[in-house]
Amino acid sequence: MSIFTPTNQIRLTNVAVVRMKRAGKRFEIACYKNKVVGWRSGVEKDLDEVLQTHSVFVNVSKGQVAKKEDLISAFGTDDQTEICKQILTKGEVQVSDKERHTQLEQMFRDIATIVADKCVNPETKRPYTVILIERAMKDIHYSVKTNKSTKQQALEVIKQLKEKMKIERAHMRLRFILPVNEGKKLKEKLKPLIKVCLIDPGCFREIDELIKKETKGKGSLEVLNLKDVEEGDEKFE
């Protein structure tokens, strides 16, 4: 058992490893942390800012460099830089702390923006600000899931927020075009869904389908306004 002293431990600092399996072999390259995602998205254009060294490894932590023949058999070339670029774009990445943090933060804001965009304060018919929604989301301890789309999550958030504060999805304004004889019958059925032609966007599908089924395609509906929101600035007088 080795004793840990400052001199006999070698730490892999500031290293993010990108791995790729090809031709039954594992190849690794040593990159700087928080840089690989930037390279992939095209923000970082300088390869030297991403790669620690241009050599391709079999195992970065042990410092084993890949053999030339392996490289040729796997990539068809022994140009290390080219191979590094390939591995960088196609290999598995360790997402570093800051990268993950920015991604989560970005999604969090995106969700808040969507919620703020879709919802209003039912009392004033005015939207809430993004900052307020963000704070409310923090209050309900909402945690962002990276594998779900932000829109889906936004809808979840709205449901959860409803319990905490006065928030509602902005209503849609619809117009129904119905044949005369069908109109009355339908009205009864639509009643539970409609509030004077302002509906919760969640019910849209239901209404649409109902109309299609009941009128056998003769009726249709038209969206007049996606969001029924107060417009313009208001000054307190």
Partner: protein
């Protein structure tokens, strides 16, 4: 003097000739409140020992902590000289520039004022501003009294300082009224040491001593005069070297020697002075180790400040009876309106003003200059018992009245509440409450509920009676600042009966009873039954009728007094939000109260849902926030920079590059790897031709759209902006036509306006590219009324905004309408959020060159042959929205189920939805192939500055990307007026910075003016060698547009092209303990 009883005050109030309404004005920290303290102490309200330290008029906690006054407050003082007894309504005002509005409120109800000038600092900018205010509001009668507060250590410089004062001020007022000691309108005081004198005081003493006539001394004691002791003659000009002028020799020397003696603790000398002055100093003061106490004790007996000041006030200032005709007219006329333009009834009121009569026949005219909130506990009627009880009593009373009215009972039937004492009951005049008030009951009913919730705040109107007697319970018209007597006379026939039962609703007018009247005694309020004319008073129970200021009059023909002209208009904007989102209602309620309580605050709710608070300055802001937190809303709030809006647009391709070289001539050398990647942004499957025409196909390959984006000329954008209301009404018209409601006939005027609008557009959209385009306009966007245009250039288009919907009889047309609607919706969505940072577009014209639906129709036909159901499925989808589809989870389920039902529908959702999404995408890409630009909201900024700070003004402006449009000198002054434009994005903290940098000598005013394209390209990277040399590889230092764009994207959680870590090598990677 002893504390004056309330009865005494009431008695004094009746003698209008002996009332003086004055306010104290000065630069910040020159000692207004200290002076007020001294005057108050003379009435025994506070101890004379505490005068100057207590700051009695600063009743707010933050005023005491910060040591500055933040609001104007009034106190009534009694002063007796000889046989005459005077009532002095003293109003203390704040000196800080942020609270100029409070000063204006004070000035409006005063007849004169005391201007305090510090001897050391001299005349400061604030004084110049104040005198400006005074002259504009025509309180011409002010007299100056000066204070030499810091004259603790007498030295020769002091004497010289004394000379300097007069010059500065006399320059500013070029009227016949000068402040000059020899005219006897200047008092030299030290409020902190409690002494004060006018020239007259010493002139009297020395005329006896030296034997020179008092009149001569009055003239010569101030100025470049010297005495020749031997000849007992006063000479003009310096006779011998080292001689001191008369003022210094005779007056200041004496004071200095006193200070000298006390400070050096020269016991004998003090005794000598004291005995020679014939004063008696208490043993306690004489033994006191602090020399200040001794000075105070001696001086306040020798030259009592309150006497000096108040005597002069009584002597020099006009009583309410002496109101000038000029001032009356000034008060009554708004802006450019002249007095002659008023109806005769109104003109007749002028006489009442001048007379200021207290007879019952005299019309009652009261001006409310501000509303202020007081703790309900501080109200006199609430002192013995809690407010709720009184509220209950009031409500019971009101209910009873309603009941009584129902019974049509005669006057006085409603019995008095036996358990209550008089004060509570008489707040509502029994029985005779008019029906006009009943109408108000509806609006009033929520109020008691509110008050119960937080029964802490009660609003008192800060007012002055100009004519007639204000009695409690008197019914009176409340006229808002926008009320016009002409309007009233037009609506109401002449000679209407007095009780305004069936009075028609006149805007900005209400009718109510004066509930409570108070005597304002600083932080205390005393209850009054009636207030004779010329007095300052507080009125309770007006909060439902008066917002900030109003005119109360017994006759409706009275014009409202001119709105207060503020020295400082509110310009510091912040967004306010509750810490806990659920507390939103409290915040809104609190902000409404704050709006009422503060004359200078503005509160806006913006379209984004932000609550924006606009205040006059940082100190004012702080006070408003404190008020909101502790008094009105009582919640935690957070304050942030307001959201700054941007617009996105496109421009013509630039002809020169960033180093002013012509594009095309340069070879794009070396830096090819930095080429713009516009082309790569556009995914496959979309055709882009060199002209910027985008051709895109829906996911089910049934329809193809070709869209091009073009920048609109600036004038057209402007026309569209101006006519957004017209466009909206056009839209409503078409939609009502759509519904088949032809009953809505187009109004002739509207129709004319529409043609005029169309003509204007045609006039500006000329040239080859815009030929016939006006006739082909399909829609405006976003929200169907914005400054962007959708044009349809396909051959079979007949649905332009001008003609209204096509005949929908044919089936073809109806189908096209459905699909067309989807395309318009797609355009609306695209214009609502642009590609750069999801901000709305502006000044962009989208041209739909082609729309190929042939495949769709084919399929529709074949489907129809196969299965009749199918066509309906695809076609009647109406206006489904793409966003909805991928939005709700319910919708997802529905879609899958739908798919199961009819496998023939394609897997991309309903066709109309696809069309919306495709159109939106097409518009976006069409924008992206053009040079995109960001538009910033701009303020126009007027800055008044003196010549010596011009340089610093320019520095602040240029630092904040401002641009100076013009600069001119104001005639006859050394002030420059600078007109500049400044991006709203840079305006946060601008006012404060400019004030700080110029030591308050420049004051900006910001008004939103227009949208302006930021010339720099947010996506710009250096491409030519010259640019590369000039800006370097990164070139991110100067790109203002990119800075804004990234800030917005970051705020919205959009992807920002920024490196997470700039330098990979420099990361700290080890945690601390390794």
């Amino acid at each position: 003097m002893v504390l004056n009883s309330l009865d005494k005050m009431i008695q004094l109030q009746k003698n209008t000739a002996n009332i003086r309404n004055i306010c104290v004005l000065a630069h910040v920290d020159h000692g207004k409140t200290t002076l007020a303290d001294c005057l108050i102490s003379s009435n025994g309200i506070i101890s004379s020992r505490l005068a100057g330290k207590l700051r009695y008029m600063d009743s707010r906690e933050d005023e005491q902590i910060r040591g500055i006054t933040m609001k104007s407050s009034a106190i009534s003082l009694h002063y007796a000289t000889g046989n005459e007894e005077y009532l002095i309504n003293l109003i203390d005002s704040p000196g800080h520039v942020d609270f100029s509005s409070e000063v204006s409120t004070a000035v409006r109800i005063c007849d004169g004022c005391i201007i305090v000038v510090d001897a050391v600092e001299g005349v400061c900018p604030q004084i110049n501003a104040l005198t400006g205010t005074l002259f504009t509001s025509k309180v011409l009668e002010e007299r100056a009294e000066r204070e030499t507060e810091s004259q603790v250590n007498p030295n020769s410089e002091q004497g010289e300082q004394v000379y300097d004062w007069s010059t500065g001020l006399e320059d500013t007022d070029d009227s016949h009224l000068y402040f000059s000691p020899e005219q006897g309108n200047v008092v030299f005081t030290s409020a902190i040491d409690g002494w004060g004198f006018g020239i007259e005081h010493f002139a009297r003493i020395y005329s006896q001593k030296i034997g020179i006539k008092k009149e001569v001394l009055m003239k010569t004691l101030w100025g470049d005069y010297y005495i020749n002791m031997k000849a007992k003659k006063i000479m003009k000009g310096d006779q011998a070297k080292g001689k001191k002028p008369l003022f210094v020799q005779l007056i200041l020397e004496n004071i200095w020697s006193l200070y000298d003696a006390v400070l050096k603790k020269d016991k004998d000398k003090i005794d000598k002075i004291v005995t020679s002055l014939g004063l008696k100093i208490g043993a306690r003061e004489a033994r006191h180790s602090d020399p200040k106490v001794q000075i105070n004790a001696i001086c306040s007996q020798w030259l009592p400040i309150s006497h000096a000041v108040l005597a002069m006030v009584c002597q020099k200032l006009p009583s309410p009876l002496d109101i000038t005709a000029e001032r009356v007219e000034r008060l009554m006329c708004t802006g450019s309106q002249t007095f002659d333009s008023f109806p005769p009834e109104t003109q007749a009121l002028k006489a009442a003003f001048m007379k200021c009569g207290s007879e019952d026949t005299a019309p009652v005219i009261i001006f409310v200059s501000k509303m202020f909130a007081v703790d309900a506990k501080a109200l006199p009627q609430n002192k013995p018992r809690p407010l709720t009880q009184e509220e209950i009593a009031q409500r019971r009373e009101r209910a009873r009245q309603r009941h009584a009215e129902k019974l049509a009972a005669a006057q006085g039937q409603a019995p008095l509440e036996p358990t209550q004492d008089g004060s509570a009951i008489e707040t509502c005049p029994k029985g005779e409450e008019p029906r006009g008030d009943e109408q108000q009951v509806e609006s009033m009913t929520p109020k008691p509920v509110l008050q119960e919730e937080n029964n802490q705040e009660s609003f008192i109107a800060f007012a002055r009676v100009f004519s007639g007697v204000a009695r409690r319970g008197k019914k009176i018209f409340v006229l808002g600042p926008k009320y016009s007597p002409l309007e009233f006379l037009r609506r109401v026939p002449l000679g209407f009966s007095a009780p305004p039962d069936g009075l028609p609703q006149v805007p900005h007018m209400a009718y109510c009873a004066l509930e409570n009247l108070y005597l304002l005694m600083g932080r205390e309020l005393e209850y009054l039954e009636e207030v004779p004319p010329g007095n300052v008073l507080g009125i309770g129970g007006l909060q439902d009728f008066v917002l900030k200021s109003a005119t109360l009059c017994s006759l409706p023909s009275c014009p409202p007094f001119i709105p207060l002209n503020f020295e400082a208009t509110p310009i510091v904007r912040v967004a306010v939000e509750p810490k806990h989102p659920s507390e939103m209602p409290q915040l809104v309620k609190g902000m409404k109260l704050l709006n009422q309580a503060d004359p200078c605050v503005q509160i806006l709710i913006q379209e984004t849902g932000e609550h924006v608070l606009v205040t006059a300055g940082e100190v004012h802001l702080q006070r408003c926030l404190d008020d909101l937190k502790e008094r009105f809303a009582k919640i935690h709030i957070s304050v942030s920079e307001p959201i700054i809006p941007f617009r996105e647009t496109i421009t013509k391709p630039p002809k020169v590059d960033m180093v002013n070289e012509e594009i095309g001539k340069q070879q794009k050398v070396a830096v090819i790897h930095q080429m713009k990647e516009d082309q790569s942004k556009i995914p496959e499957g979309i055709q882009v031709d060199s002209d910027g025409l985008i051709t895109i196909t829906t996911p089910n390959k049934l329809a193809t759209l070709s869209v091009r984006a073009m920048p609109l000329p600036e004038e057209v954008t402007q026309i569209l902006e101006e006519n957004s209301d017209l466009i909206r009404s056009m839209e409503q018209l078409t939609s009502s036509l759509n519904e088949g409601e032809n009953t809505h006939m187009i109004h002739q005027k509207t129709q004319e306006k529409i043609w005029e609008f169309k003509g204007k557009l045609e006039q500006h959209l000329t040239g080859r590219r815009w030929r016939n385009i006006v006739d082909q306009i399909w829609s405006f966007g976003p929200r169907k009324c914005g400054p962007n245009i959708l044009v349809n250039k396909s051959e079979d288009f007949q649905n332009s905004v001008w003609t209204g919907p096509a005949d929908k009889a044919s089936k073809e047309a109806s189908r096209y309408r459905d699909l067309g609607n989807s395309i318009v919706s797609g355009f609306q969505l695209a214009t609502l959020s642009g590609p750069m940072c999801e901000e709305p577009l502006m000044g962009v014209c989208f041209v739909l060159e082609k729309w190929d639906l042939s495949k769709f129709e084919e399929q529709g036909a074949s489907d129809l042959a196969k299965e009749g159901q199918e066509e309906n499925e695809t076609c009647s989808g109406g206006n489904e929205n793409q966003e909805l589809q991928d939005g709700c989870s319910e919708a997802f389920e529905k879609r899958t189920s739908q798919k199961g039902e009819s496998p023939l529908t394609d897997c991309y959702g309903p066709f109309s939805g696809q069309l919306i999404a495709t159109m939106k995408e097409a518009c976006r890409y069409a924008l992206q192939v053009k040079p995109q630009r960001l538009m910033a909201a701009m303020y126009t900024c007027d800055i008044m500055a003196t010549g010596d700070v011009l340089g610093r003004v320019y520095a602040v402006l240029s630092k904040r990307e401002g641009r100076v449009l013009q600069e001119e000198m104001k005639e006859g002054t050394d002030m420059f007026i600078i007109k500049a434009v400044l991006p709203v994005a840079e305006s946060f903290g601008f006012a404060d910075e400019i004030r700080k940098r110029t030591s308050g000598l420049a004051s900006p005013q910001l008004v939103f003016s227009h949208w302006e394209i930021i010339p720099s390209d947010p996506f710009w990277v250096p491409t030519t060698e010259e640019e590369y040399l000039h800006f370097g590889e990164k070139a991110d230092s100067e790109n203002q547009a990119r800075k804004y764009m990234n800030a917005v994207r970051k705020r919205k959680g959009l992807y920002v092209e920024e490196k997470i870590v700039e330098h990979a090598e420099k990361q700290r990677t080890l945690s601390k303990n390794k």
